[in-house]
Symmetry: C2
Subunit: 532 residues, 2 copies
């Protein structure tokens, strides 16, 4: 274990140091040479990649730079491929030991076998009962596939990320979620927990807008279905509070792609799909309550509405046309029994009332308080929160009241970026308060920063790689052009926020070398600096 850790540390440090040299030191020297006193590495103008050669680590040698910046931007090749073959996206991870894997080798397969056996018993009983009552039952061709993509996805989850960069199971999983037959549909656990009741004294939850279903595929892969509720070109009304905003299926899809482009890989795979709400939900569900919320609309479309308070909430129904309905399918994580997670309140949560303000909104020194508190007083947790705030700022998701981590990976495990459907509501506005963790704590992982800087450059422009990445989804265009442009604008704002911090507190303080071990002190990274 220790050896592996050291190896990883060494490899990562070499890569980051090289990146550091080219991205920060060289431009700095250049700008000093030009008489500029500004040492900030953030602006795209005073920041250039070297014209020749790569980052000087052996595993990055297959990366070659193009002639000039303008040529790079205009040659028509795939920017996304170029991005993913960039050295920063090719840092080697050592072979994973069992401690770095979420699941033990045989665990998911055993779980899968049990589920299939249970299903077959259940179907056998159902068919017998049906035969007795002379009813014909639709048979769903269930397959037990040891190569199933969802199984590989679960097996591949490590302490570094939800999936590795080049795992072929991920594109296969996206394809399976898009195409594979649905054999069963049900409410999600969240909705079942409500038991049909609604607590109307709560401002926020549950809302009729929460309408999601769990779909089971032919190979027993499970996905959460969130139906389309809003046209691509509709913006959230300016008077809506974030907690009553609609959930957008396209935001779920786009968030997965963005997370992958940022190389976080903390969002489970999401694919768009045209779901046949009659054939793939109503006919296959065995939940009577779910069947009961289906109805035919005046326009003869098949519709259904949220379980919660449903009789009052017909305004919230979603309808197929007449049966097909766009939606996002998000891959389920391994069950909580196999891979427990904990949900932790976000220190920068919002008040979820009309006029209430949380401390972070009024106290500019709020971060100092957070830094004193466990688990933010050591390790990567605070930096992970800041990563998440950057991700949420880019998508403009204000609804991050909690985050989840896998208990197995301890305090320094990555944060899961689940539930992104309230992003991409307004392209015309940048909600700076989402960036509060960054702007108040003035810290950022160097690995995050260098990738953001890369995506700010014309040859990898965030909007361009996002547009290209989203073209891979069947529901394209997933985002309208104004939303894509907003990503570039917001990225600049993130970089400017870092720039301001650097000016105020210096690079040493602000830009933190990551992959750090806990130091036990609120001042992060002193140990790291000693190491170097």
């Amino acid at each position: 274990m220790m050896r592996r850790d050291r190896l990883l540390l060494a490899a990562t440090l070499t890569a980051i140091f090289s990146a550091d040299l080219y991205f920060v030191l060289l431009p700095k020297l250049r700008s000093v040479g030009l008489g500029s006193g500004d040492l900030c590495p953030c602006g795209s103008d005073n920041f250039t990649l070297p014209r020749h050669g790569g980052l000087a680590t052996p595993q990055l040698s297959n990366w070659t730079l193009y002639g000039t910046t303008s040529e790079l931007a205009d040659d028509g090749g795939s920017k996304l491929e170029r991005l993913f073959s960039h050295p920063l996206y090719n840092i080697e991870i050592p072979v994973l030991g069992s401690e770095e894997r979420l699941l033990q080798a045989e665990q998911p397969m055993e779980y899968y076998r049990k589920k299939v056996a249970h299903w077959e018993r259940h179907m056998h009983l159902r068919n017998e009962a049906a035969a007795l009552s002379n009813i014909t039952v639709t048979e769903h061709g269930v397959t037990f596939d040891p190569e199933a993509s969802w199984l590989k996805f679960h097996s591949g989850i490590s302490s570094y990320a939800l999936y590795s960069r080049n795992d072929p199971a991920i594109p296969k999983l996206l394809k399976d979620m898009h195409r594979m037959s649905v054999i069963s549909a049900d409410y999600t656990q969240d909705e079942k927990a409500l038991k049909g009741a609604c607590d109307c004294t709560q401002v926020v939850k549950p809302s009729g807008h929460h309408l999601k279903l769990a779909l089971k595929m032919q190979d027993f892969g499970k996905a959460m279905f969130k139906p389309m509720r809003q046209q691509r070109d509709e913006e959230t009304p300016e008077d809506f509070f974030y907690f009553v905003d609609l959930q957008r299926h396209n935001a779920e899809i786009a968030a997965f792609h963005l997370d992958r482009i940022l190389d976080f890989r903390r969002v489970p795979p999401v694919a768009g799909r045209l779901v046949n709400v009659s054939g793939e939900v109503l006919l296959v569900t065995q939940n009577e309550h779910l069947r009961a919320v289906f109805f035919t609309s005046p326009a003869n479309n098949t519709c259904f509405f949220a379980k919660c308070l449903y009789v009052c909430k017909t305004e919230y129904a979603v309808c197929g046309g007449p049966d097909l309905l766009e939606g996002s399918l998000s891959a389920y994580l391994p069950s909580l029994s196999m891979a427990p997670r904990i949900s932790i309140s976000n220190p920068w949560t919002r008040s979820y009332t009309f006029s209430g303000r949380e401390e972070w909104e009024v106290n500019p020194f709020y971060c100092d308080t957070v830094k004193q508190q466990y688990p933010y007083n050591s390790g990567n947790r605070l930096l992970n929160i800041i990563d998440m705030s950057i991700f949420d700022f880019l998508t403009s998701n204000m609804d991050r009241h909690h985050y989840e981590i896998f208990t197995k990976f301890g305090d320094d495990g990555f944060l899961l970026h689940l539930d992104n459907a309230r992003g991409f509501g307004k392209h015309s506005q940048d909600e700076m308060s989402i960036l509060a963790p960054l702007s108040q704590c003035c810290m950022i992982k160097r690995s995050t920063l260098v990738r953001l800087q890369l995506l700010a450059r014309p040859e990898f422009r965030l909007s361009d790689v996002m547009r290209e990445s989203l073209k891979g989804d069947s529901l394209q265009p997933v985002l309208t052009e104004p939303h894509l442009s907003a990503l570039d604008r917001r990225l600049q704002k993130v970089l400017r926020a870092v720039q301001r911090c650097v000016r105020r507190l210096g690079e040493e303080y602000v830009i933190t070398k990551d992959f750090v071990k806990s130091t036990g002190t609120p001042q992060i990274n002193t140990e790291m600096r000693k190491d170097r």
Copy 2:
């Protein structure tokens, strides 16, 4: 009384007979002369007004016809003025006796005096209490105005209509509702009756979309305020049931104008207004519950939401910009204590469930059943229902579950066309089922038919006179052009429905001379025909 009735009958019959002669008999003779067997007076092509001369009753002599039809359509003059000066809109009503008036001469004034006295006592006590607690209270300059327009409106209500054609109090009332200071705001009686509770086992009511307030003006006139919830160019989604549709303030305004143009005058006056929700609602209300539903939105606008289940219904809030909010103001009718009304279930009501069907939807002979039943088995009630269905078909309002009548005027009193906010939801669709009373019973008042025929002619085209009439409202354009065009298209469909009935059952059966006394038989109008 008897003499007055006879006088009225004679005058009306003369006018209608003259109209009959020119509108129906002459074209019929002409079309017979041209060898056409079709006797229907509905199409605009086979229907012409005489080129010279008016309808030959003395009081219509000031009406002159223009040269040709095309000149009429293009001369640029006011079509609305021309319409209102047409003989059909100038049938004299005899001087009203106390039986034909809704209120006795001194009744509204006494009511007014009492209200002012009560208000002044209340204000006196409030000011004393405020002085004791050293609070400054806003003083509202209340005026006692014996010439108040709302008072004149109430005094003018007769057994014929809510107001007479040329009553100068009506334009004054519209202006007062648009401009006069608001001294008090409160929930309406409907909302108070809920007592904040919502029965969620009911599909239909109450809904968060029901958001209306009672505003009291400086002169003690009262109006119901319905705020804007939908942009003019938004159409009701095709999957919405009529009973969850939004209420539209502009539909309320347009319905008043349409009702006046049809010469029904069964809709109380409605005017548009930009209401300052802070100054004219929040600051002046003495209802704490109402104050409690106000909040400031993320965009810093003043908003409020429905009383019913309010904490769950923030999605339904309406917001000023930052304080001004468009809405319709409908004049209140005299209080129920002075002028009792009864609310009666519409025989052609809809099921208000997802899949339920009412008998009229499945039984083509439903009208025969209705005709047997009191009060539809005699008098004008059924014809009044058919008038209402034509009005609702033109506005496309499917939500007419009840209608109201003044008890004083008995079974033959006119039906009040209240609550028209669910009209004008879709311009692209004509909901033929709204016309069921006409198409199933195959009866229509001649007075209604001849006015519809007039409005189908290019020189009085319904869309043109509506556009002109609506220009008088401060919130113009009240309706978009597609909604105006829909009126012309729907008018043609009404006329075609009549035409089909005439072909099937003959004119004698279908076109009923109105102003009839009850005959006590389901066959309407035999007595009438004997009279002629």
